[in-house]
């Protein structure tokens, strides 16, 4: 854990809540971007990040400092996101009378008036995001953490509580699966 994070955590445990505010500012966007790519839903991602910070605040004294503070936060957020997805799947099954979630979320329609390149770029991103959504959760998370967040294998393994070898093989399988899905997307279009 970085000395600066350590200092803020200590201050927070001594009752200075604003120190926790500084930790939030420091990590909110990285956490949000990852969760957003996992869930593909801005509102859910925001709720998960908020919930994760609240949980982290309450269990701050259990943070031992043997990993990076961000890794610890990440683990909390990942578990919160998984639990939210599980709840949503149950809700959807109840509403649809047992039908399975197709995994494809409504796409972001806020890209309305973008000219040329930007619009093409946005289309491309939507295509990739749709393919990401169709990956199994364990494949999606390793791709997001490795390629989008640029995390090291050790960190991914720590967050997911799996051996590094598992991260490696999941990542390789995820790349091939993503390729297949993008090919299907391409053939559809």
């Amino acid at each position: 854990v970085s000395p600066d994070d350590q200092r803020l955590i200590a201050e927070c445990l001594q009752g200075r809540t604003s120190a926790f505010g500084e930790l939030i500012v420091r990590y909110q966007d990285r956490l949000y971007n990852t969760v957003y790519r996992l869930l593909d839903n801005a509102e859910d991602a925001r709720d998960v990040v908020q919930e994760s910070f609240l949980s982290a605040y309450q269990s701050l004294s259990s943070f031992k400092g043997d990993s990076l503070f961000f890794t610890w936060l990440y683990r909390i957020a990942f578990n919160t996101a998984v639990s939210l997805k599980r709840k949503q799947r149950v809700m959807l099954r109840m509403q649809m009378g047992g039908e399975e979630d197709t995994g494809v979320e409504p796409i972001d329609l806020s890209q309305g008036n973008q000219p040329g390149d930007a619009m093409e770029r946005a289309d491309e991103e939507r295509r990739i995001q749709r393919a990401l959504n169709r990956l199994s959760p364990e494949h999606r998370v390793v791709l997001v953490m490795k390629d989008i967040e640029g995390q090291k294998y050790e960190v991914i393994a720590d967050v997911l509580s799996v051996p590094i070898g598992t991260v490696r093989s999941r990542l390789h399988r995820a790349r091939l699966e993503l390729r297949e899905l993008l090919l299907q997307e391409q053939n559809k279009g």
Binding site: C12, L13, T17, S18, F20, G21, E22, I24, V25, Q28, D29, Y32, N33, Y36, R37, A42, A45, R46, V49, Q50, F53, L54, Y57, Q58, S59, L60, S61, S62, R121, E124, E125, I128, Q129, L143, V144, K146, D147, I148, G150, R168, S169, L171, H172, R173, R175, L176, L178, R179, L182
Partner: protein, 114 residues
């Protein structure tokens, strides 16, 4: 047609996660197979596209909203429970034996004096 093993090897190559022997194997494969070259190029492009995805951010005041939530819910960092003092097994056995001996002696004395 590439085997599953070869496809996995190419995926590992994208991450630079190959041994020198595997690297030589891939290099040789790439020089011979257009299908392998094509797959590797696509896998590298996919990885690049993931990296290039626009980063999503939260509003500036997000931290204030979380802090307000903490205040509204009156949340506090939970204090870590003090480490529980473990009672060594040998001490338990010693005490049990001592109690047993004491009861035996007292009983013996009680009946012997009657």
């Amino acid at each position: 047609m590439l085997t599953e093993e070869t496809r996995q090897l190419l995926a590992a190559y994208v991450d630079g996660e190959v041994s020198p022997r595997q690297r030589a194997q891939v290099d040789s494969l790439l020089s011979k197979s257009a299908e392998a070259r094509n797959l590797l190029e696509q896998l590298q492009r996919d990885s690049g596209e993931l990296r290039a995805m626009k980063r999503k951010t939260l509003p500036q005041d997000f931290s204030l909203q979380v802090l307000k939530n903490i205040a509204d819910k009156k949340l506090q960092p939970e204090s870590t429970p003090p480490p529980t003092t473990t009672f060594p097994a040998w001490l338990g056995i010693t005490i049990a034996v001592a109690v047993l001996v004491l009861v035996t002696v007292v009983s013996f004395l009680f009946f012997a004096m009657r």
